[in-house]
């Protein structure tokens, strides 16, 4: 199957949140208790039951108001940190570019949570499983478009083959740039090129996204050195202990490295804390 892409054109998004409902409906996810966080945003972060939500960023300068709306969900990276981090080989990547958690294999260890540069997966502490956007793999493998794309009325979401959509996204960018000089694509090269490709009005950090998302260093150590050795020498369980220690060691770096923990909703979390 050719590489797929969902082009998220935020210049067309009207923040209607229908994608959130479509996602919950298709995936049979329950509603959660929410409050206004800031602006019209009511979901602070991903949860095991919220795989996509809208962020609202208000920016006022030079007597001009900008209100940026962005649909957040798993980016489905070409080089997924979660996959590399997974202790139970529960995460795999499809040829079409989807990054999928196999719930039968997931043990809820949370390494994917720790290592995703976008803070996407969340572990359900009761079920001991990690959850995130599946990209509606069950729909697209049956020739349907993802639920969010299907429902998007303003046409901000478009699903198709990457080879078709990437040039289209670039052409749209040129058009948008005439009025918004800072506009750019996000996900063309980030994390090896993400399946969800964004057109943003401004730099990623304005949206609370990492400007240069990367694979955590500890993860390279784990994947490329510790795990092969550990698995060979003392078995998986012991290796997990080792990586736990390493994880703690590197954690300091995660928090201070603004890009890595500065999730898509980072700014809102701060404001949300007022409640």
């Amino acid at each position: 199957m050719a590489r797929k892409t969902v082009f998220v054109d935020t210049s067309k998004c009207t923040g209607c949140k229908a994608c959130t409902v479509a996602c919950k409906e298709w995936n049979e996810l329950p509603a959660e208790k929410t409050h206004l966080v800031t602006s019209y945003q009511t979901m602070k972060d991903f949860t095991p039951n919220t795989w996509t939500y809208l962020t609202f960023i208000e920016k006022y300068q030079n007597n001009t108001m900008d209100w940026y709306m962005r649909k957040a969900q798993c980016f489905h990276c070409a080089e997924p940190a979660c996959l590399k981090a997974c202790s139970s080989a529960a995460i795999h990547k499809t040829d079409s570019g989807y990054v999928v958690i196999d719930q039968d294999k997931c043990i809820g260890c949370g390494y994917c949570v720790e290592n995703c540069p976008f803070g996407v997966p969340k572990v359900d502490e009761v079920r001991k499983k990690a959850y995130k956007c599946t990209g509606c793999i069950d729909r697209v493998e049956n020739n349907l478009t993802p639920a969010c794309v299907q429902t998007c009325q303003p046409g901000a979401l478009e699903y198709g083959e990457r080879d078709t959509l990437l040039p289209k996204a670039k052409a749209r960018l040129e058009q948008v740039k005439k009025e918004h000089a800072q506009a750019r694509l996000y996900g063309e090269t980030e994390m090896g090129g993400t399946t969800f490709l964004y057109l943003l009005f401004d730099s990623p950090d304005v949206y609370g996204l990492p400007n240069n998302p990367t694979m955590p260093l500890s993860l390279s150590l784990w994947q490329d050195f510790v795990r092969p050795v550990g698995t060979f020498a003392v078995g998986g369980a012991a290796a997990a202990v080792v990586v736990g220690v390493l994880g703690n060691l590197f954690k300091g770096r995660y928090s201070s490295g603004s890009e890595k923990r500065d999730l898509s909703d980072g700014s809102e979390q701060e404001k949300g804390g007022k409640r």
């Binding site: 210049s11 067309k12 009207t14 923040g15 209607c16 949140k17 229908a18 959130t20 409902v21 919950k24 409906e25 329950p30 509603a31 959660e32 208790k33 929410t34 409050h35 206004l36 800031t38 602006s39 019209y40 009511t42 979901m43 208000e58 006022y60 108001m65 900008d66 209100w67 940026y68 709306m69 009325q153 303003p154 046409g155 901000a156 749209r172 058009q175 009025e179 404001k271 007022k274 409640r275």
Partner: protein
């Protein structure tokens, strides 16, 4: 719209929005309240179209705008007047269009005056206008006199020029708070890029000057030559999926289906009715009576005219008025179907008090909405309430078959997806059972008042079928019992030989159920989709499309060809159905030129004059009142739009301080204890109210859907950062908002999307609140209509939800 163009409907369609070069979105937050609009607007934006949004708040729609102007709520006519003035003063109008397709050249009566804020004919005792002076100078043939040039001092055009000469950008800035430079920028864009379309919704209508605001759009669009064209028009976005359909079916109190005027108490006979409304209404009214009463309506009994209820014109029974009368004890029973009045009517105290005066209320809804349980609202003692309340479980939209008519006038059929749950019933089943039962109870009665019930032709089947209703609306040839194939068959049939339940729907089921058509091809690429459902009238997709052609009948916009005159065939043809008097009449014939055939003058009306076409040249010998052909639609508060302040306003009218507000506005006055009016000293801030995309109207359905509640879990008030600082509140605080009529406590959003602005040199604040909450449901919250005022537009009866005065403090 009707007094301007002849039909009270959105001129173009959703899918036509893709053809616009410029959008003026004023009084509509379509991204939130009509999300599908953005689908087509985004297509136009992709092609380079520009979007102008004028709104009291920076909305989700505004986030997609190229130009945004924050306006003080209720001052639209001030800025539109300034744009009209600019177009006229700088000759930026479409001269050919104005000369040929508007009433610009017609001469206005010398008795017409506008002085110190009042049009001629005002009666201060009744607060109503006599409209006789708002007329044309008539020739001996009883037709309006036409001047040689626009500059003739008597012309509509000269009156227009004079009227709007008072509206400069600077004056408009002082009134509206929009900087003059920005207004000029908007005017320049509007004047140059064509076609431009206007989108409006409740932001424009929910004012005591609602009708006149739309008229201002009409005047501007006629001057610019944007009506009747693909990508142009005035698009009145209808609130619910079937608002257009329900309006077609006469949900306005003074209509009968198909926009026929309702008879009034002085209409003793059909002739009396025709004297007032013109002979043009004879056929549709008789066809309606035939649809309702069949053979029981015949020539011998005046076509059953006596069966129709007659309005008391002094009562003006709009929705709010009904509750006012109910509060006075005039009603015993309220049958409340799908309306959550206790949340949605302005000044909730009125509804709260009125419902207690009923003997019984029957409520049909999906959920036990606030209105259904008014007797146990917090603070109310159920023992004090005598009203008996009966709840009918209603079927949801997906549980019943039928048609919905959207803003594009597309009558779209749908099947039931699932059977109603539990004991729920579709409305049709409920009303059918109720009527049959009532009729049995009246059996044998000889009282005249019971005749309509006993003689009605009620035949939708043992198990009622919605298709039979649609077929009744389509109409039958009563001589053969066959469905009318097309609108043309209805039009050419003799009076009394055909029936239609709604004449504009003729043709919808004549050749199969065309409302169920789903052909989604679009050969012209103009978004006409002629084979998708059926658009009234006669499947015309863009109204007044004759105006898209020049005098020779050829399209003026080669990229957007709707119709044209085919000289070889001697016929109007095209991509769309031609909206012409007669398809065989050439463009140079008197009929072939008429672009607005539903108006008695046949042209678009810049000046909404009183006029009846077809009056005889000499009085008839029998000395009976004469019957003309077609009367013009009138606005009861003036032939030209004039700016008036809202009923509760932070300032006085800069143009005429002594007549600050619309002198004809209807203000609930019979209950002074309920309807108090606030002064700016006590209530310094301007409140505007609205819906949000996450909830629908009064929230009766949506607040019971958990997935929507998590998207917008609570009501809020939005305020500017300046105001937050001034009153000492921050985002997330609870604040109390109060008006002269009530107070509520809600969550506070502090935002840059509202800015402090200047009104006549004084800092002014607008605050915003959504209104979709009430005390019941899975997501209860205070109702904003606790604060609003029951003041109504005199023509449409629409309440001024969009403006009232409030105060705000930390709770």
């Amino acid at each position: 719209m009707s007094p301007s163009f002849g039909r009270g409907a959105m001129t173009n369609s959703w899918s036509d929005l893709q053809n616009a070069e410029v959008f003026l979105i004023g009084g509509s937050n379509c991204a939130e309240n009509h999300p599908i609009a953005m689908h087509w607007i985004n297509r136009a934006r992709e092609k380079g179209a520009k979007v102008i949004v004028v709104d009291p708040r920076f909305t989700r729609t505004a986030s997609k705008a190229d130009i945004f102007a924050q306006i003080r709520p209720g001052t639209d006519i001030a800025y539109l007047g300034a744009i009209i003035n600019y177009l006229l003063a700088n000759k930026l109008y479409d001269a050919q269009y104005v000369l040929n397709y508007t009433n610009a050249l017609l001469k206005v009566s010398p008795d017409f005056k506008f002085e110190a804020g009042l049009f001629s004919g005002f009666d201060p005792k009744t607060n109503k206008y006599g409209v006789d002076t708002w007329s044309y100078q008539l020739g001996p043939d009883q037709k309006p006199l036409k001047a040689e040039t626009l500059d003739d001092p008597d012309t509509v055009f000269s009156k227009l020029k004079e009227h709007y000469s008072r509206y400069s950008f600077e004056t408009a800035e002082k009134i509206s708070g929009i900087p003059a430079a920005k207004l000029k920028m908007i005017a320049d864009v509007v004047a140059k890029a064509k076609p431009m379309t206007v989108l409006y919704a409740l932001g424009m209508t929910q004012h005591t000057t609602g009708v006149q605001g739309i008229r201002a759009y009409a005047v501007m669009q006629l001057l610019l030559g944007n009506i009747g064209k693909a990508g142009g028009g005035i698009n009145a976005l209808r609130g619910e999926p079937n608002v257009q359909g329900s309006t077609d079916m006469a949900n306005l109190f003074n209509n009968l289906p198909g926009y026929l005027p309702a008879p009034i108490s002085t209409d003793k006979t059909l002739r009396d009715y025709l004297v007032r409304n013109g002979s043009i209404q004879e056929k549709p009214l008789v066809a309606l009576l035939k649809a309702w009463f069949g053979d029981q309506a015949n020539k011998d009994n005046d076509w059953g005219f006596a069966f129709l209820p007659k309005l008391n014109p002094a009562t003006n029974a709009t929705m709010v008025k009904v509750f006012e009368l109910m509060e006075k004890g005039q009603f015993k029973l309220l049958f409340n179907i799908g309306s959550n009045s206790l949340v949605s009517i302005p000044n909730r105290q009125l509804v709260r008090s009125a419902l207690t005066k009923l003997d019984m209320m029957v409520i049909s809804d999906l959920f036990e909405v606030e209105t259904a349980q008014f007797w146990r609202e917090p603070g109310v003692n159920p023992a004090d309430i005598q009203t008996e309340v009966i709840m009918f479980p209603a079927a949801f939209v997906y549980e019943k078959e039928g048609s919905l008519t959207n803003s594009s006038r597309w009558i779209q059929w749908k099947d039931a997806a699932i059977k109603p749950l539990g004991e729920a019933k579709p409305d049709l089943d409920m009303l059918d059972a109720l009527f049959k039962k009532v009729r049995r109870l009246y059996a044998g009665s000889t009282a005249a008042k019971d005749a309509p019930i006993l003689k009605a032709r009620w035949n939708y089947g043992e198990e009622p079928q919605a298709l039979k209703v649609l077929q009744e609306l389509n109409g039958y040839d009563e001589r053969t019992g066959k469905l009318l194939p097309t609108l043309a068959d209805y039009l050419k049939a003799p009076v009394g030989s055909v029936s239609t339940g709604c004449w504009i729907y003729a043709g919808v089921t004549g050749n199969g159920n065309l409302a169920a058509r789903r052909g989604n091809t679009d050969p012209s690429g103009l978004g006409l989709f002629n084979n998708w459902s059926f658009a009234w009238p006669g499947n015309i997709r863009i109204l007044y499309n004759r105006a898209s052609c020049d005098l020779n009948g050829q399209p003026v916009d080669p990229k957007r060809k709707l119709i044209w005159w085919d000289a070889a065939k001697n016929l109007w043809v095209g991509n769309d159905g031609p909206d012409v008097v007669d398809k065989t009449k050439a463009p140079d014939t008197p009929e072939g030129k008429l672009a607005f055939r539903m108006n008695p003058e046949g042209v678009g009306r810049l000046f909404a004059a009183k006029y009846m076409s077809g009056l005889p040249q000499t009085p008839p010998a029998d000395s009976l009142p004469v019957i003309g052909i077609r009367p013009a639609g009138l606005c009861v508060d003036g032939p030209l739009p004039e700016f008036y302040e809202p009923i509760e306003s932070p300032t006085v009218n800069l143009l005429h301080p002594l007549v600050s507000q619309n002198p004809a506005a209807l203000i609930l006055s019979g209950s002074p204890g309920i309807q108090k009016r606030g002064k700016p000293e006590d209530f310094p801030y301007v409140l505007t109210t609205y819906g949000v995309v996450e909830h629908f109207c009064a929230g009766g359905v949506t607040r019971n859907i958990p997935w929507l509640n998590e998207l917008m879990p609570e009501p809020f008030v939005e305020i500017s950062k300046n105001l937050a600082q001034k009153v000492g509140v921050k985002e997330g605080d609870k604040v109390e908002v109060s008006s002269a009529r009530g107070k509520v406590t809600v969550y506070c959003l502090v935002t840059d999307r509202l800015q402090t602005y200047q009104v006549n040199g004084k800092d002014t604040e607008t605050i915003g609140m959504p209104w979709s909450w009430g005390f019941a449901s899975l997501s209860p919250g205070p109702s904003t209509n606790e604060l609003t005022i029951a003041a109504l537009d005199p023509g449409a009866g629409t309440p001024e939800y969009k403006v009232c005065l409030v105060n705000l403090r930390r709770a």
